[in-house]
């Protein structure tokens, strides 16, 4: 091949024996629309190197799993399943049980979903079914801005604005009307499970809303018209045609939001108080898997301590992989089915 190609117009050189021989080599089948005569060293090299990069991405995911498993092997071997059933997180005596963090993660994520799911559904239905296109586009843009704000900024706002406001304005109301439940008893603190959950809900709403909007948009117009022709009101149309059609996609969106909530680190670490405690009250501090890693990793002395923290990360990674895979499968199913019509 000529080393300097200034013009992109040039004739293909005569196939040399080496290139024709290369044709017979087994190659990965290209899609029909791309099929050209293979050969030419440059082509092979370029194809090979991009394939290598794609392989690298795949290897990266495997690398994550291997590295995290290796790094947490001390803790995996020593504690086994009791890692998840023990509430004793004691770095001094090197006894590690992750149950408090699992509890904190589950409770904050549950609060976040409880708030974010109805709001997200409301926003996306409002954008798709109620508002004119131009206004919906602007609202959609603002909702996406929520996802653009860095999580450390949310954390800062959570510490100085949201937390104190919840403590002074919301906690007393909850205690007065729902105080018969253990979740709403005890002292009110600004750093708490509730603050973390509410902050998380704000942070995951844009993700759930974006997917739900996409899903509702692909509901065929004929479905809506059929419902309306039968005499349904707008809300009945949504309940009979839009939501059932997009049901799987909505579930996928919720799972995606859950994945985000579980893994969010800094904002939660800033407002949850970071105490490995299981308390029924949502007004008290706790800690999550992710916030514990952020908070303790650089202070971890000793291999066992570090290994236990990495195991928390391993748990997070497995959860994220499973949830993301499930969510993507559900959402792509609905969206591609809708777009195929």
């Amino acid at each position: 091949m000529e080393p300097s190609i200034q013009l992109s117009l040039r004739t293909r050189p005569e196939p040399d024996p080496q290139a024709t021989e290369a044709v017979t080599l087994p190659t990965v089948a290209a899609p029909a629309r791309h099929r050209i005569a293979p050969g030419l060293l440059g082509d092979r090299l370029f194809r090979f190197s991009t394939a290598l990069l794609a392989l690298l991405v795949l290897a990266l995911l495997l690398g994550f799993a291997i590295v995290l498993a290796m790094e947490s092997r001390l803790s995996l071997v020593k504690f086994g399943l009791s890692f998840f059933t023990s509430t004793n997180w004691d770095p001094v005596n090197e006894e590690f049980g992750a149950l408090p963090f699992v509890y904190g993660t589950v409770v904050t994520s549950a609060i976040a979903l409880l708030i974010a799911v109805p709001l997200s559904l409301g926003v996306s239905l409002c954008m798709v079914e109620l508002l004119p296109q131009w206004l919906a586009a602007r609202i959609g843009f603002l909702v996406e801005l929520l996802a653009a704000i860095p999580s450390v900024v949310y954390g800062l706002w959570g510490i100085f604005v949201l937390g104190p406001w919840l403590r002074d304005a919301v906690d007393p109301l909850l205690a007065r009307y729902l105080g018969f439940l253990p979740q709403f008893q005890g002292p009110h603190l600004a750093v708490s499970l509730l603050t973390a959950g509410v902050l998380l809900s704000v942070m995951i709403i844009p993700y759930i809303t974006a997917v739900c909007t996409e899903v509702f948009r692909v509901v065929p117009q004929t479905q809506r018209e059929a419902a309306l022709a039968l005499g349904a009101t707008k809300w009945e149309m949504i309940r009979m045609a839009v939501i059932p059609y997009g049901y799987t996609g909505v579930i996928g969106a919720i799972i995606l939001g859950l994945g985000r909530a579980l893994g969010e680190t800094i904002a939660v670490a800033m407002v949850i108080g970071n105490r490995p405690e299981i308390s029924a009250s949502l007004f008290l501090p706790s800690s999550t898997l992710a916030s514990a890693i952020a908070n303790e990793f650089t202070e971890a002395t000793g291999d066992m301590y570090l290994s236990a923290l990495v195991e928390l990360g391993l748990v997070l990674m497995v959860l994220a992989v499973v949830l993301n895979a499930a969510a993507r499968a559900l959402v792509t199913g609905v969206v591609s089915q809708g777009e195929g019509r």
Binding site: R47, L119, V321
Partner: protein
Amino acid sequence: MRAAGGGPSSYLYRKLKSRLMMGLTLAATVITLLPLFFVLAYLLSKGVTSLNLAFFTHLPKPVGEPGGGMANAIVGTFELIGLASLIGVPIGIGAGLYLNEYGGALSAPARFAADVLIGMPSIVVGIFAYAVLVRPMRGFSALAGGFALGIIMIPLVMRTTEEMVRLVPQELREAALALGVTRWRTTVSVVVRTAAAGIATGVILAIARVAGETAPLLFTAFGNRFWARGLREPIASLTVQVYTYAISPFADWQRQAWAGALVLTAIVLALELGVRWITRGRLKPLR
């Protein structure tokens, strides 16, 4: 639905219920946008009053001494972004090209891996970078921080590149190939050049995303109260600095945290909004 008169199935009742529910969706929209308004309002009101020239030109002062700035953190953030781009951009673009232009047996698993990596909690990426770079190199470093952010960039750049080159009309490729241009020259000079603007905006959105990351830097780049003298030294970043100052008990540091958060948000939003303005909303960030 029976259209009987009166009771819960009457036309009036159904219509009112529909109105009420649609009103609720509108209320949900307003409630959802309130936090955006409040976060930005507090950022502006608390951040602007804390900003001054020293913030951009001075190093942090020791504990207890008022004043000082985050000059090193601002520079550090850009340095980390640069390092991350060195890793994330070439790998992401190359892998993205493979997915659309060659699309062999590797593409389905690679696409799946990218989607899963996009959803990977960033703190996990931090642990990975710690195990792969920080411990072997025996210390926190700018390199490790850039590596962690670069890993986060790879799947984002990869997927937008794939989307963008998919939009290149097939006829352009065929025209180039028909003129006898080799396959790889077609990809580089025709496909990539046609999609260049889209790929570039994808890269900028990925940069905006990692510029706001804190968790993967905590135990890779770590933070530094002074100027980093090399890539093998710990380096400050706006996000980690804001985090450290925000959870500190000192009023002056907390004040500076707001200023830092304002600058950080301004950088991130400028990148995102700039891209959206240029592409008129055609390209949305992957998340």
